[in-house]
Point group: C2
Chain length 281, copies 2
Amino acid sequence: MRRLSFFLLFVLLVVTSVKAQEQQRPGQQPAPETGEKFKIGMAGYSFVKLNDLDKSLATMQRVDVHYLCIKDFHLPFKSTDAEIAAFHAKLKEKGVTGYAVGPIYMKTEADIDNAFEYAKRVGVKLIVGVPNYELLPYVDKKVKEYGFNYAIHLHGPDIKLYPDAEDVWNNVKDLDPRIGMCLDIGHDTRNGKDPVADLKKYHTRVFDVHIKDVTGNTKLGYSLEIGRGVIDFPAFVKMLRKVGYTGVCSLEHEKDMADPFMGIAESIGYFRGVIEATKKK
Amino acid sequence: MRRLSFFLLFVLLVVTSVKAQEQQRPGQQPAPETGEKFKIGMAGYSFVKLNDLDKSLATMQRVDVHYLCIKDFHLPFKSTDAEIAAFHAKLKEKGVTGYAVGPIYMKTEADIDNAFEYAKRVGVKLIVGVPNYELLPYVDKKVKEYGFNYAIHLHGPDIKLYPDAEDVWNNVKDLDPRIGMCLDIGHDTRNGKDPVADLKKYHTRVFDVHIKDVTGNTKLGYSLEIGRGVIDFPAFVKMLRKVGYTGVCSLEHEKDMADPFMGIAESIGYFRGVIEATKKK
């Protein structure tokens, strides 16, 4: 019995000392964007080929990213309130906040109605959308009704709707100031524009940003890991600071989408390296 | 028959046009370190738990890294010349150059003899080694005989040999100038030193660099993804340029070693982001 007591005491001491040592170990530093006004996130679309919420969240945890723009393959439009609550609970468990929904294509007034109701039930105040041009007055009406921000996703030369930031600006500048853009810096570049200059020009209507890199400034340019293309990220990060952007820069990773893990990590790492190295000390 | 001819002609036209379009597509940009005097590589040790050369090389290809410090689990000391040739051929296929061997621990003169003969047969002119202190005069003799550079790997407070850059310097400064150090910036930091200041002080004897990050400047600090720890990478990269370092900065990734892919990608991305953002334009 005495032997057992000694043994238990010994075990207790070892456990306590290991615990104490663990507590003393210094941990990971805060991410470089912690001190910035803007945040880093993930565009849910990056995970479309995985189509697996657990793997998506695990990937975000590994790269220490905590904001997700929710795509409907992760949370279908028809989700019940209970399903939405379960979704948020799962995100919270992984330290992730769903900050917006979209991009959502809207070809009819009914699509717009559904999107606003969906966003309201999901509990976000930002919709990333692609409304047909002729529906913009209706979007304007809904924005006034719900009080949400509406960020139009620009998509370069691939589709006819909203090729670049200038096109969005021209179409929304006379509408409610809560209608603006999700500045996709890759597609803006692929339409021959300079996303740094466009951020400067249009920042009052930039409510979301998709970060990515592209190989060229035409339709032939394709999306790849940040740092491997033609976009000037140091200049872009400096401009984010200069205009005081307070939204999220969400990585929309579109290469190797069935196995996007290393590409996502490299892109997030590069962007954070640029943030750190361009800080004024 | 005529139909078949038309069909074949059609296929030919389609194939030709697709090929032409592919050729026009702009490709990936050169890596940010292409314009630098130093290179980015991988310390083979990062792959010790994979212990799979194909996976290691595939990982290097994905992160566009082309220099490998060869560890013996990838190429055993007793490899025949044919095995060594096959190893190099496999690396070449993946665009990788084995630029050095090691780290190799050397506790006897025989170990040193073997290491130099191994390096000679492998065809590299740089050995990363950890010789017992009392064997340094023998290393000096071998360096003169073979004409190789010998980089002593420093290992922080974990082992008694060569805790930091200062210790290596003090032990080698009166020996042949080809005996110097592999500056492991993580372990140097964990021994309470500043690797940026040490690179400046000792650069004439820095023949290899291990890049990594660590959480603290004591033995309790542990290794993790570059950018998540306490090392000042912008300052380090600027110092690499200032001293004109011409060797390799090899990532020695020591976290999640059974599944190191995302950590390696994030680290390489961060380091390249810092290189790009600190370039003088």
